[in-house]
Symmetry: C2
Subunit: 195 residues, 2 copies
């Protein structure tokens, strides 16, 4: 039988990797469809809002990577225990996406990025791990952890350095996630890509 | 007794108005704290991640406007009926925020914005109202409707025109939302601001 989920994306980790980590963690079988970049002009018009990643399942064609992650987190039990914990998780995830947007700066703004913006974000993210037993939110493993670890290679590629090099709490969190059953196997077998 | 919720934001609608609409719809009393722009340098360092809106309640200091909206939607019963409907709602909301990001372009890109980007988004948004009984998602009134209507004045201010002028389904949806009990009263009494 074909897997219940089909993920369509470029042949990279980037925005799709948090989705792949969530499905791997939950042992949800998925077709990891990676199209050639040359084929994107043909594929783009067939995608909702002309963007990927897209996740197909049960007749649903889901777009928007964070919305997809939140849906999968519910299926694999990586949400909060109540509305307030989910609010905390959602805020962390949206903050990481803000950080990603901030990192996409022109050369002349890189100094400010490295000296102000990134330390500002990262110090706060690091403090979260201290307050949440080594995790980003809700005092436990949640999809906020998997999302951040999943997108980290892309962030590192964008900024051309290791975002969490100086942050021991975040490094420990990353290690925890990468050693989870399901995720460890996925990381060992996934295609090797630059970001 | 002081209201259970305190919202802190600039003296404008913008990113805070969807939050205000949700609380007004649910008859949740809130302190609508609008600080003077001149005071922002003093207030900014006291806010989580240096940003607003921030919503305080029950000892929680919540940031990230969309995360706050989603939390409030659960409290006032404007979510989907199941995980798939919530996924659909989340994707619409994130798409509106993408549209907002796309609208923040330099003058030389405005032609492309008006001739390509906005029609691309708006035709799809309009088609949603046809498939969802006059709403954006889940075939019923949800927080996706309130979010879009709440942020619309800000989008119109950014693009210097009426985003939905040519879209009858979206105009009807906006009218429906603005006539809801709670919201109608809020709109009548809220401070008049440009955006």
């Amino acid at each position: 039988m074909a897997p219940a989920y089909k993920l369509t994306y470029f042949p990279v980790k980037a925005l799709a990797e948090p989705i792949r980590l969530l499905m791997s963690y939950g042992k949800l079988e998925f077709e990891d469809f990676r199209f050639d970049r040359d084929d994107w002009p043909q594929i783009k018009p067939t995608m909702p809002f002309g963007q990927v990643p897209v996740l197909e399942f049960k007749g649903v064609e889901a777009h928007q990577s964070i919305a997809i992650c939140r849906y999968l987190a519910k299926q694999v039990k990586l949400t909060g225990a109540n509305d307030i914990e989910d609010l905390e998780i959602d805020a962390v995830v949206d903050t990481v996406m803000d950080l990603k947007a901030s990192a996409a700066v022109k050369e002349e703004r890189r100094k400010q990025l490295f000296e102000e913006t990134l330390p500002f974000y990262m110090k706060r993210m690091e403090s979260f791990t201290k307050k949440n037993k080594g995790h980003l939110a809700a005092g436990k493993l949640t999809w906020a952890d998997l999302h951040f670890v999943g997108i980290m290679d892309y962030l590192n590629f964008m900024i051309e350095r290791d975002l969490i090099a100086d942050y021991s709490g975040l490094k420990a969190m990353q290690k925890t996630v990468l050693n989870l059953p399901g995720i460890k196997e996925w990381v060992a077998k996934r295609p090797v890509t630059e970001f």
